[in-house]
């Protein structure tokens, strides 16, 4: 298996020389601002800035909510992707396309709009929220559950897109073969489909988790901001910036590190370009 790959990498196809120029600019555009953040950091004060109660509370809250939200993305987004990729609706051929357009909306929608939409649905005067408040005395905004809802809302399309793409690329030939050998749809799904799309699923999960960690707009407009309950790391960075720039820089670097860990450790085979 490595023989062909190696040959392709070593001789390659010749690259036009000018390709390096825009590529370098593109790389610098991403790398330099992060480098600037490193230069701006107050390294001596870093430990005390990062170990403050508010920073630790925010980190803990961010990790927990992002993990729960990613799990919810898998729980609900996974089957959604399978249906979008595989379901046959002979009667309503356009229905799946319409569903897909709506599911992908949070990808392009500004997160703050998503937060407002959630607020108008689940807020205390919202369509569903009013009922929850009157019947059970439950108010969703200002709770950790609201943070998780906001994150799941914005992150789920990332999982759906990745997984649906993987399912479509994999095709259904192996499942068809499995069926001729007597496997039930459930068995074929578990033993054939899932292993085939695992790289796509993994990259989808990593993307969804990263998106949850970085979620800001929907959270601040729907869940509010309170230490230990709803103030995640990005919200704390935005707030610290008002009064304490070096604190904001330290927390930003923490988010950069967390993101790098997610990319490097959690990187699925599909994302490192080699497979």
């Amino acid at each position: 298996m490595t023989a062909r790959t190696t040959v392709r990498h070593e001789t390659g196809v010749g690259l036009p020389w000018w390709m390096w120029i825009p590529a370098t600019i593109g790389f610098a555009l991403i790398a330099l601002p992060v480098f600037g953040l490193l230069l701006r950091a107050d390294w001596a004060a870093m430990p005390s800035l990062l170990l403050s109660d508010s920073a630790l509370d925010a980190l803990r809250l961010s990790l927990i909510t992002a993990a729960v939200s990613t799990f919810l993305c898998l729980l609900f987004g996974g089957p959604l992707a399978v249906i979008l990729a595989r379901a046959r609706l002979e009667q309503r051929p356009r229905l799946l396309g319409a569903i897909r357009s709506i599911v992908l909306l949070p990808l392009v929608l500004p997160p703050v709009v998503g937060g407002l939409a959630l607020l108008f649905l689940l807020g205390r005067t919202g369509l569903v929220g009013r009922g929850l408040d009157l019947a059970f005395g439950i108010t969703v905004p200002f709770s950790t559950a609201a943070v998780i809802l906001a994150q799941t809302f914005v992150a789920m399309p990332f999982l759906v897109v990745s997984l649906e793409g993987a399912l479509r690329t994999a095709g259904e030939r192996y499942e068809a073969v499995a069926a001729t050998l007597g496997a039930s749809p459930a068995l074929a799904f578990r033993r054939v489909t899932v292993p085939l799309v695992l790289p796509g699923l993994a990259s989808g999960l990593v993307l969804a988790f990263a998106r949850c960690m970085g979620e800001f707009g929907a959270t601040i407009s729907f869940a509010g901001s309170l230490e230990g309950t709803t103030r995640t790391l990005p919200l704390l960075v935005y707030l610290q910036r008002e009064s304490d720039e070096s604190g904001a820089v330290a927390l930003s670097l923490l988010l950069v590190v967390v993101s790098l860990v997610v990319i490097v450790v959690g990187r699925p085979r599909g994302m490192d370009g080699r497979g």
Partner: protein, 271 residues
Amino acid sequence: MTQRVSTGRLAGSVAVAAAALMVMAGCGGGSGDSGAQGGAPSGADAAPQTLNVFAAASLKDTFTTIEKQFEQENPGTDVTLTFAGSSDLATQINNGAPADVFASADDNNMKKVTDPGLTAAAPARFATNTLQIAVAPNNPKGITSLAQLADPANKVVVCAPQVPCGSAAQKVEKAAGVDVKPVSEEQDVKSVLSKVTSGNADAGLVYVTDVTAAKDAVQGVSFPDADKAVNNYPIAALKSSKNQELANKWVQAVTGPTGQQTLKAAGFGAP
């Protein structure tokens, strides 16, 4: 055969991941900095004199009124107003934003601009503001005192202590000996107000002027210790202004009788 299939599948998932990352990067960048460039001058028409005024968000209604009077009294002048949180504006000015005048909602943020010597003259105080409790119209929860905000049955929203309205809230709580347990500490006073107007919070600590500006959407409840935290509003022309004369004129318009009248009508206190 297996090899080819698996390569294709991986290429597919890489492409999808890359596309998703691109979208993600695009969305992430847009969420935080809206309005940062909002007040940039057009520069297309060189004939009229333009004046860029950076002002605290709480000055939106009053400065818009003063702008109209100012442009009438100074024909050929085009005033561009940029409203945002004072600390955001101070950061932008310190990073070279093309502002001619800065009006801050507190002394602290004006100090960020005077410290590096960016103002043309010492800032002049032109207004004060105090806190009030904002509740829903007709006050359904019957809130009449600051002490009632400590009752967990009332969902209370305040500003975070890092921003001016939040530090003012802390001061009045301390003076009154009340420990408010908010359900959220918002980034700015307008967010506090919107949590009350949308019915998601029962009460919020906002400025008197925010209650006035919200008209019928909320009701204001005054409390005795409000005068323990008085916010001063300073204004100053900036050194980098290409039109010092016009910048000074704007400062005079705000500190002068007509400007003061407009501010008073909106609920601001005298400087």
